[in-house]
């Protein structure tokens, strides 16, 4: 299950809407082992395409170095589909290489509503998971004080 703050959901959707009809992409980094998305990092879609996204290779190196230095991992890797369902495509599956990450897909095909769904993609196998949206205020207090040890 993905537990994610509402403001991050809003940020992802806003990013997807902003870049529509091109696909938008980014990550939410979190402390290694915590499984908690904490730092929202929108990325540039170097492909600037309505059917493909790719982090710029220079940006990717910078991002991973920064995460390494902060003991972070990409807890969430998100991108949008702008004309199709929020379900991983063949291409998404072929590229997926972070078995610990939650792959979030947002569909902006409908201008009024959005789909926001999350998946694990491990060795080419896609497993959809529940998304629990939590309010940032209640989340912000917990930090690493052990209140959430589930």
């Amino acid at each position: 299950m993905l537990k994610i703050r509402r403001d991050f959901v809003d940020e992802i959707v806003a990013h997807a809407r902003r870049d529509h009809p091109d696909e938008a992409c980014g990550v939410i980094a979190g402390k290694e082992g915590s499984d908690e998305p904490e730092r929202f990092i929108p990325m540039v879609n170097a492909a600037r395409s309505p059917t493909f996204y790719e982090f710029d290779s220079g940006d990717l190196l910078k991002l991973y170095r920064e995460m390494d230095a902060r003991d972070e991992v990409p807890v969430v890797i998100y991108h949008s589909h702008t004309a199709t369902e929020a379900y991983p495509s063949r291409t998404d599956i072929a590229y997926a290489s972070e078995p610990e990450a939650h792959y979030v897909l947002v569909s902006t095909r409908d201008p009024e509503t959005y789909e926001f769904r999350s998946y694990r993609i491990v060795d080419g196998v896609v497993t959809e998971e529940d998304v629990e949206v939590v309010e940032p205020s209640s989340k912000a207090d917990t930090g690493s004080d052990g209140l959430h040890e589930d």
Partner: protein, 92 residues
């Protein structure tokens, strides 16, 4: 010629979990061959038809090797080689 090679999470099963390994060589290909001699299976995850796989990025220090000769890109003593899976996909 010793270089440090940084290994991404998904490939650490080939390096007994190590985040980085030391290797020798004067080009990226030689470095990968040297690693392969000790950690079999890594190279085929990165190289296909004598070219770097589309799904992976390799850097010598800050430089994406695609722009500096690909597998023939030169490495020098003390360089850092970083391997990162591309983050990409899309509806297509």
């Amino acid at each position: 010629m010793a270089v440090t090679v940084s290994i991404p999470t998904i490939l650490r099963s080939h390096t007994d979990g190590a985040k980085s390994v030391e290797a020798a060589g004067s080009t990226v290909l030689e470095v990968l061959d040297d690693i392969e001699s000790r950690h079999s299976g890594l190279k085929e995850r990165l190289v296909k038809d004598s070219k770097l796989h589309r799904f992976v990025n390799v850097y010598v220090n800050d430089e994406d090797v695609r722009f500096v000769g690909g597998l023939d890109a030169e490495v020098s003593d003390g360089d850092t080689v970083t391997i990162l899976p591309a983050v990409a996909g899309g509806a297509r």
